[in-house]
């Protein structure tokens, strides 16, 4: 039966081939092993072509629960690998027909691997998201914003018809302030955090139907941080959470992730 190779990532050379054999591969049958090259090694597992051939995978990718299960495995395995070695993580489902093909690809990128591995050595990726309860934020602004209070006072002295129109206008203006406040707050938080990070990547802000949360996401970013700065970085997050919770802000941190967001290759394909 033909065998395929599933590539998890590329790590610096120096471990024996069985170093990760306690970890089970993506099919739940074949353990992980490494293929050494001069200065790096590929972390892989075997797959039976009869179960993971192109056509079969093509069909399987229509099953969301299957994708999710595999995505979770890929993620979990790379988390474990990351604890044991510096590693450049691959995208889900990076599969080769033979060891020769894999060798060609890894060899072709030798310089890239070394550069990337040096860049991310001793660093950790942490992802941060800021969520906001817009109602609470709005409530605060309505109650405390000096311009709102002033405008409301002005309106109170107007004729009834005018009051109606101006109140509507004020509502629209408050909406705007809420939006601006979300941007300002996020920017301010990001600037503080970014001061402790080596690199940063802004991510898409997800709508509520994607996050499934009642709060609105107002910031989504990935930060690459030197291990010795992580504690300070996280302390800042905790402080910010404590200080701004009452006003409707929540900061969510996940990590350490493999450096997924910071491993772009110069040449995109072989």
């Amino acid at each position: 039966m033909a065998e395929l190779l599933y590539l998890y990532g590329v790590a610096p050379a120096g471990k024996n081939n069985e170093a990760f054999s306690d970890l089970m591969g993506i099919d739940g049958e074949h353990p992980l092993f490494t293929i050494g090259f001069e200065d790096c090694m590929a972390v892989v597992c075997r797959l039976d072509e009869s179960d993971y051939g192109e056509e079969i995978i093509e069909k399987k990718t229509k099953e969301l629960d299957w994708i999710q299960e595999k995505a979770f495995h890929h993620h979990e395995t790379l988390l474990k690998l990351r604890e044991r070695t510096n590693i450049v993580p691959m995208k889900l489902f990076t599969i080769y027909q033979s060891q020769n093909r894999l060798s060609d690809v890894v060899q072709a990128h030798r310089e890239d691997w070394n550069e990337l591995l040096t860049e991310i050595a001793g660093k950790e990726e942490w992802n941060l998201k800021i969520y906001c309860d817009p109602n609470r934020l709005r409530g605060n602004i309505e109650k405390n914003h000096p311009d709102v209070l002033k405008k409301r006072e002005d309106i109170a002295g107007m004729s009834q018809g005018m009051q109606y129109l101006q109140k509507k206008k004020l509502d629209g203006w408050i909406d705007q302030v809420v939006e601006e406040e979300q941007l300002t707050f996020s920017k301010q938080m990001h600037d503080t955090w970014n001061g402790w990070a080596d690199r940063f990547m802004e991510k898409k802000i997800w709508k509520k139907d994607v996050t499934g949360k009642t709060e609105e996401m107002s910031w989504n970013g990935a930060y690459l941080i030197s291990s010795e700065n992580v504690e300070t970085f996280l302390e800042l997050v905790t402080e910010a959470n404590d200080r701004h919770r009452e006003s409707g802000w929540k900061i969510e941190v996940t990590g350490p992730w493999p450096a997924y967001h910071f491993v772009t290759l110069a040449k995109s394909e072989v």
């Binding site: 994708i67 993620h75 988390l79 489902f93 994607v210």
Partner: protein, 81 residues
């Protein structure tokens, strides 16, 4: 408890994992080309899957199995019908 311990390997939402492993990481040409109809479509379909409670604890002994996912998926699609 250090701040690190407080946050490390905690609750990672499925959507976060999917977004990252499908879209990030090194994309080199594998021999088997997987087309998951674009990440946006995955997001679209996820609407019936993702709920506020559906977060994974990465260190959980019993990770979300496909059976459990299937049940959740069915339950959620009922709700969204």
């Amino acid at each position: 408890m250090s701040h690190r311990e407080q946050y490390e390997n905690k609750e990672i939402a499925l959507i976060d994992i999917l977004d990252t492993v499908l879209d990030k990481g090194v994309a080199i040409q594998g021999d088997i080309v997987i087309s998951i109809a674009g990440i946006d479509l995955v997001y679209l379909d996820l609407r019936i899957l993702v709920s506020a409670v559906e977060t994974l604890v990465a260190e959980e002994k019993d990770p979300l199995t496909s059976k459990k996912l299937k049940e959740e998926m069915e339950a959620l699609s009922h709700v969204t019908k």
